[in-house]
């Protein structure tokens, strides 16, 4: 396993060109092309803001009790801080689950390092996430969000932790889906549930105590909180212990996922 893992850096040229291909191919043929990378998160944001601020005002936007958000506008910025990384995470996992099957030609007919495929998926979606960042930055600037340079230094760390976690999950899902095609169908539902079980549309503080315990067990909670604390909330970044712990756990998980992937590697060519 470690022998194969050590080979991974040698594939960076391949990974690089595959990510570029992924990005080029995605919007090829559409009128707005590349601009969809900006428009998509904006539209998503618009939908969520409309629903949660106007159609069914949640207690953290209106109501009488604690009001972290005076009106709908900061809420949408808060929402955006969690939504953008979640989109990266969720679409990576969704695509990873099918990536070995759709890339079957490569695995069956060419000597090709299969682990590259889920990693490329995670990276391509990360680039999309980056494309969404300027929009987020505009929102933050406009709302005078209390972003300090010191806090902002944590941002790449959060992204890195998320990348490792996403890649690890992607590897595991990709390998298992080859044997159990059901995973693809189960996954989309699990991801919806997971989304609502993560403090993205609501702040963590608003969860009941039992729910908080549950939320803490969800790795994406700590990513979402980290993004929100660094970008949106005032005050120093207090969640860094959780973040670093999650980082360590993600590395361990990535190694575990790689181990599973490596064990199943020889079956791919036959099962895909």
């Amino acid at each position: 396993m470690f022998h194969n893992l050590a080979q991974l850096p040698r594939y960076r040229g391949l990974i690089q060109s595959l990510v570029a291909r992924e990005l080029k191919a995605r919007y090829r043929g559409s009128v707005l092309g590349f601009f969809w990378s900006f428009i998509n998160p904006l539209l998503l944001l618009l939908v969520y803001t409309t629903v949660f601020a106007y159609i069914m005002p949640a207690r953290f936007t209106g109501g009488d009790e604690p009001k972290p958000f005076a009106d709908a506008y900061p809420y949408s910025v808060f929402l955006f801080c969690g939504l953008l990384p979640w989109t990266w995470f969720a679409s990576s996992l969704n695509e990873s689950a099918g990536v070995l099957i759709s890339g079957g030609n490569l695995i069956k007919k060419v000597l090709f390092p299969a682990e590259v495929l889920p990693i490329v998926t995670a990276l391509a979606n990360m680039v999309h996430f980056f494309f969404g960042l300027p929009i987020l930055a505009l929102f933050l600037l406009y709302s005078h969000a209390p972003v300090t340079p010191g806090e902002l230094l944590w941002f790449p760390v959060i992204v890195l932790v998320q990348l490792i976690l996403t890649a690890g999950l992607g590897l595991l899902l990709a390998a298992l889906t080859v044997h159990f095609r059901d995973i693809r169908d189960i996954l989309s539902n699990v991801l919806t549930l997971w989304y609502f079980a993560t403090p993205i549309i609501y702040p963590w503080q608003h969860a009941p105590d039992l729910g908080k315990w549950f939320l803490n067990a969800n790795p994406f909670t700590h990513l979402a909180i980290s993004y929100q604390e660094v970008l949106f909330f005032r005050g120093p970044f207090g969640h860094w212990r959780w973040l670093l712990a999650l980082g360590a756990a993600s590395i361990a998980f990535f190694l575990f996922a790689y181990f599973v992937f490596d064990r199943l590697r020889d079956t791919f060519a036959e099962e895909v």
Partner: protein
Amino acid sequence: MDDGRTAAIEVIRASKIYRRFSHRKQFATLKSALLSRSLIKNLRPDETFTALDDVSLTVPKGRTLGVIGRNGSGKSTLLKLVAGISKPSSGSVRVDGRISALIELGAGFHPEISGRENVFINGIMLGLTKREVTRRFDEIVEFAEMKEFIDAPVKTYSSGMYVRLGFAVAIHVDPDVLLVDEVLAVGDEGFTHKCLDKFAEFKRRGKTILLVTHSLGLVERFCDEALWLDRGRIKGSGDPKRIVGAYIADVEHHEEGELAAVDAKARQAAAAPPEAAAAALPETPVDAATPPSDMFRAIEGRWGSREVEITDVAFLGPDGEARHVFQTGETMVVRMRLRAPAPIEDFVFGIGLFSADGLCCYGTNSDIEGFVSRKLHGDAEVRITFPALDLVPGTYKVDLAVHRRDGVTYDYHRLLYTFRMKSAIADVGVYRPGHTWQFSAGIGIEQVKP
């Protein structure tokens, strides 16, 4: 140049066993696996299929090995093992040097992006660096004859263009070991020649080639050695001419069996219509005594009064042995055994040869050739000898009949017998008139086969 003593490819006692799941288990899903708690049990196959069985081979550096064998004999599996795409279930495979596998050309092309970008990505996938691809790019495009289309998206390419580009990239990877799986079947004649030239160049430069093909001529001309796989085992290896010869003999033997089975089936169908459940004894004319209304419809059948009966038909080679496969120009004897329970005075023997598409290639009978019948009683035998049967390669069906001079049929066997003509020359038409070629001085030409 290498000294040829070191092995480029070494396969030692490799077997490949594929797991075969039964239908029910194949559709077993995660849910059912979890529910029945048989996750592990279901992952275990209940049947296996041995694609390669204890195969060992060594290809020294700079040699070209041709692998032949019938469909499903394990050729492609062997190639995949050597390429490292799949692992042997037991045994080992070792390859020395960079491999390029021309197995699935253009695998990994992305349809939405341009040929140019795909060339880069494909090249990198096959182990080149970006700089190496840039350096070889023009050569690749020129080889693929794709200059004007290289910036169009790959989805707009014809299948020929697709494969040509894939081939061009794969061949420009500059491998030490080249694996080729039946890729020459694509592309037009010109491109095929170009590929062969490229292979020849590889050979000259001391590269090792493993070639899987159905083109036996290619193996004979091009390979230093041939390997014959049959049902996953090595059936022979060594000199290409010898192996190809043995393989052709085996294929013909196999075809014999097939054609004999076809004939037996046709005769059975003709002799036993459903209502005649009782065995068709020679004494009982079981089917209609009248011919079908449309004599020109090429369907198998048998009719007649059976006052004279054709009891056995065989095609004999020059050695007198019965067989179904003949070489164009060979001697063929059609032997027809007859029985006439009562003496008959008025009889004509007829024969017709039909091509697979129903064209009558030749027909004659004893009457039009001036034989006047006198008497036929008891068991008898008629032999029609074709000293040189010059039909072009293909499958032929035969009509045989005994009838009265006025056409009333005793026994008519319509298209019940099959033989196959083979030839090293794939000429076309119906029949090959004897011919020779003469070339004046000034024409540079030389015959390399047959």
